[in-house]
Amino acid sequence: MSRDPYELLGVKKDATQKEIQSAFRKLAKKLHPDLNPGDKKTEERFKEISAAYELLSDQEKRGRFDRGEIDMSGAEQAQRHYYRDYASAANAGNPYHNSAGFADFGDSDDIFSSFFSRRARGGEFRAQGQDRHYSMEVDFLDAVNGTKTQIRLPDGPALDLQVPPGTRDGQTLRLRGKGEPGIGGGRSGDALVEIRVRAHRFYVRDGDDIRFDLPITLREAVLGGKVRAPTPSGPVNLTLPPHSNTGKVLRLKGKGVAKKGGGAGDIYISLKIVLPDAPDLHLSEFMTGWTAGEQQDPRKSMGE
């Protein structure tokens, strides 16, 4: 080690003791191996600046060095073990072991968090069992009205599953304690069943509302009258006003899907005029003589 101690500390030849001390402290904070436990390279440099500081901080030694009587090799330091070498050796046997740095990792009950909380508390290992995930198809009306069904787990007994009214497609039902068993007395995980709702022939779910098209005859459309319409909770009678056109929407308030917090959505029925299945001679004759029908232009709003 024959380098220049002034250069090592980054100070001028005529630096005051105060400047030398301050330069050393700055470097030592950056280079002390125990303050940089992950950086192996700091050790050699810290050794150098420590030797330089030892030489320059001593007025007498500094004077002799300046006069060329000694060089830095006189200040060479004995081989030293840093605390980090012991601290990193083993967590278990180290009396200074401190796990406060992750004591809060154990707040949650899952398998990895409990690893940390066990270390932080020094207690025994306990973990909640894993959740198991399943999915299941349910008919549209069963999802709307609710139902009780059984789910057969691939590797377990059949479980009763209560599908609540208003269950949505993609909703997950939780069966407490029906997942993997816990470890070390921890509670069992849950079975999580994702519900897939099958599409209905004509009902369409729109949040808590239900929409569908109701076919009506030409006669019902023109003259109005009572018609019977299905709903998920059973058929209802509707009164159509005279001249009810295709696309007219009737709302059945509170007849839709049960809402989470109580109450229910609505049903929106969209009328759709349907001609008779077979051509009708009388109807054709009437239309031929119905001159007003020739004046109507329902495509006017479309331009051209």
Binding site: R80, H81, N91
Partner: protein
């Protein structure tokens, strides 16, 4: 080493050593009713000396620094054990862990 050897080696007086032990910076073992210091205590004491003699840290600062250093070593030890445990997993699990870690690095811009 015993009390006297320890103090001679470090060139400290008994009052200073009593403070260090009292503060919990050093946790010597006890043998035949006397303090007994291990190599790890020597290395730790040298760090305390570096801090107090050369780096201008006062007692309150040493207390803080030693506590943080102990926490860092606790974390480093646990991290090392986790890495070792991850290393022992099948290739598929390792690949997925690596992918997730890369993803997290991407999020944090590392």
């Amino acid at each position: 080493m015993d009390d006297l050897e320890f103090r001679r080696f470090l060139k400290i007086d008994v009052r200073a050593l009593d403070v260090w032990v009292e503060q919990g910076w050093l946790l010597p073992q006890t043998r035949d009713g006397a303090r007994d210091f291990r190599d790890t205590d020597v290395a730790r004491a040298q760090l305390i000396l570096d801090l107090t003699r050369n780096m201008g840290v006062n007692d309150a600062g040493v207390d803080l620094i030693m506590d943080l250093i102990d926490q860092i070593h606790g974390l480093r030890g646990t991290l090392r054990e986790m890495l070792a445990a991850m290393e022992e997993q099948d290739e598929e699990v390792k690949r997925r862990l690596r992918g997730k870690l890369d993803e997290l690095c991407g999020i944090h811009g590392l």
